[in-house]
């Protein structure tokens, strides 16, 4: 059974059918790419998957469980975490605390224990710190993580911090919305290695949106191409990228 199964997903904004009869099947461990020209509906698919929008039609199943129309919190608890195209960090909080917010539902401690500083508080903080630093080091963000505000990180590192924060929730499926946007070629290369690394060593399943074709062809094994809300084609990366229709859609004939 596929980890993620989307059937006939559609949503309209006013008269615009932003996503139209979208289908997708992702297996455990896949590194899957969702591409398409600007305004094709890629981010809208993510918003539908994570409960930000409710679909007009269609079914979303995670590991066989129907999660269609559930709220963002429930979807995160079910095992989907995401990053945002327009970075959404907790800007006034430290890099470390951003990841610790991601660990909120992993390590628990009741409010009374927090306020009274009972042993449970120190245990939770210790576990959270260990796990947070472990994740941050994967992205090379562990140095001065406690004393740097998220908003003071350079752009590329902010994107990495968002991935670390999403990973902190222990997702089964990770959605990355244009993770390389705003990065220079070096950073992009580094990011590609990191994405590979988290797939291999954390056993993560990843669905990513990206415009950078070098990244897409470099790491995605399968692709779905969206155009005007509809699927243009899907399948193995090489075949998809060789498809003349895809080339046409991108060159915008």
């Amino acid at each position: 059974m596929a980890l993620l199964e989307i059937n006939n997903l559609s949503i309209s904004f006013g008269g615009l059918r932003a996503v139209d009869e979208f289908n997708l099947s992702i297996e455990q461990g896949d590194l899957y790419g969702l591409i398409g020209p600007n305004g094709a509906g890629k981010t809208t698919v993510f918003n539908l998957l994570t409960g930000v929008y409710k679909p007009n039609e269609g079914i979303i199943r995670l590991d066989g469980r129907d999660i269609t129309g559930k709220k963002p919190i429930e979807i995160n608890k079910a095992g989907i975490a995401r990053t945002f195209q327009n970075i959404r960090l907790f800007k006034q909080m430290s890099v470390l605390d951003n990841v610790k917010v991601g660990l909120h539902n992993i390590y628990r401690c009741p409010p009374a224990a927090s306020i009274l500083r009972l042993p449970a508080y120190y245990e939770t903080e210790k576990k959270m710190n260990e796990r947070a630093y472990e994740l941050l080091s994967v992205f090379g963000l562990d140095k001065e993580a406690d004393s740097t505000l998220a908003s003071n990180l350079p752009y590329g590192r902010q994107r990495k911090l968002e991935i670390a924060r999403a990973m902190a929730t222990n997702p089964r499926l990770l959605l990355l919305d244009e993770p390389a946007a705003g990065m220079n070629p070096n950073e992009t290369q580094e990011l590609m290695d990191t994405i590979h690394y988290i797939r291999d060593s954390f056993g993560m399943t990843i669905l990513l949106i990206e415009h950078d074709m070098k990244l897409v062809s470099g790491i995605c094994e399968k692709l779905t191409v969206l155009n005007f809300g509809r699927i243009l084609t899907q399948g193995e990366t090489k075949k998809v990228l060789a498809n003349p229709e895809v080339i046409k859609a991108y060159l915008g004939e």
């Binding site: 994570t50 930000v52 709220k71 963002p72 919190i73 995160n76 608890k77 975490a81 995401r82 945002f84 327009n86 970075i87 959404r88 960090l89 907790f90 800007k91 006034q92 909080m93 605390d97 610790k100 917010v101 991601g102 909120h104 539902n105 390590y107 628990r108 401690c109 409010p111 927090s114 306020i115 009274l116 500083r117 508080y121 939770t124 903080e125 959270m128 406690d146 004393s147 505000l149 908003s151 003071n152 990180l153 350079p154 752009y155 902010q158 924060r165 999403a166 902190a168 929730t169």
Partner: protein
């Protein structure tokens, strides 16, 4: 001392300085008082200073940490004041005065907290900035209700009315007025002392600072910084908004109890519990640097003391007061002075700054 400080991490050090500031101020003032140097004018201000500091810390939790606007916080203080004074009046001499006062304070906090919770439930379910308008209305309603509330007690038990004392149906000869409309509650014993005020302030700081630096506090701040992202990592937004707001209301209730037991006659006048007061608390928080409990306390103390100290030169009072307000504003918020403070690490000792560089963004 320096060594202890340097061993702590940044946040515990910051909290330590805040507690130290309060305890230090208490020690200095106690010594001055013992030496007889302190004027009676200042002596009379000590409890109100504690009350306003507690209100500033309480409101800072909502405005600075949760990022919601409450402009009716005087309403929670009013509830705490009346609930606690009512309890004290009912019990009378049936209990040792210290125990009675402690229970009265807890009741003040409880009642204010219950109202905070009840207001929060509908408001925080909506997405949007409805808290400001709802709390504004709440503050005024509470004040007006307290002004028209009559409660009496006779052999048959309690009697209530919202129109006049005669409507209560109380045995006028043998009954006792507990809350008398616009006159409020009279004859409350003056149990509040500077020491108790400082202890409640320290307790409030303990609760709020510990909350902020915990799993719950991070959840609250994440909602402030980006509620969409907070939801995406599984934070229950409504729950944490409610938690912060309720804790803040409880603490405002404590402040009200302290306030009520510093006055022998408690009436819900506009000067005490009107929206002007709520706005003043908001000014404390804003001038204190939004998000800094220490800054809020400093602002509360400075802005309460100045008008009093300037009384002798009455004609220039408001002028000087305005100038000081403006100077504080500039020192606290102008980019140049913030950069200066940051560079010289002065921010640690004065107000807390947020280094929002505005990179990335939407």
């Amino acid at each position: 001392m320096k060594k202890i400080l340097s061993q702590m991490d940044q946040t515990s050090r910051n909290d330590f300085i805040t507690y130290g500031m309060v305890i230090g101020a208490f020690a200095v003032i106690s010594i001055l008082q013992a030496l007889g140097i302190l004027s009676s004018q200042i002596g009379g201000l000590l409890v109100p200073l504690c009350v306003y500091s507690i209100m500033a810390v309480s409101l800072n939790l909502v405005v600075g940490i949760l990022g919601e606007l409450s402009i009716g916080h005087a309403g929670f203080m009013c509830l705490g004041a009346f609930a606690s004074a009512f309890f004290t009046k009912c019990v009378g001499d049936g209990m040792p005065s210290m125990l009675r006062f402690v229970i009265a304070i807890l009741i003040g906090g409880l009642i204010a907290g219950v109202f905070g919770f009840l207001i929060g439930i509908p408001v925080f379910r909506l997405n949007g900035d409805y808290l400001a308008i709802v709390t504004l209305a709440f503050g005024e309603i509470i004040k007006n209700v307290m002004n028209s509330l009559y409660v009496g007690r006779d052999a048959n038990g309690f009697h209530f009315s919202l129109s006049s004392a005669n409507d209560m149906g109380m045995d006028a000869l043998n009954g006792e007025m507990l809350i008398n409309g616009p006159q409020g509650i009279t004859g409350t014993p003056r149990n509040s002392t500077f020491l108790i005020g400082i202890l409640i302030l320290l307790l409030s700081l303990f609760v709020i600072l510990n909350l902020i630096h915990s799993r719950q506090g991070r959840a609250i701040m994440s909602v402030r910084d980006n509620h969409i992202a907070a939801e995406s990592v599984g934070i229950n937004i409504t729950k944490y908004k409610l938690m912060a707001f309720t804790v803040s209301a409880v603490i405002a209730g404590f402040a009200g109890a302290l306030y009520a037991h510093n006055l022998s006659s408690l009436a819900a006048t506009s000067a005490r519990f009107g929206y002007n007061m709520s706005i003043m608390f908001l000014v404390f928080v804003v001038l204190g640097g939004i998000g800094s409990s220490r800054g809020a306390i400093i602002a509360a103390v400075v802005l309460t003391l100045i008008p009093e100290l300037l009384r002798p030169i009455a004609s220039f009072r408001m002028l000087l007061y305005s100038i000081i307000l403006i100077v504080m504003m500039i020192v606290n918020w102008s980019p140049a002075s913030r950069a200066f403070m940051e560079k010289h690490k002065l921010n640690r000792f004065l107000f807390k700054f947020k280094k929002s560089a505005g990179k990335g963004g939407k």
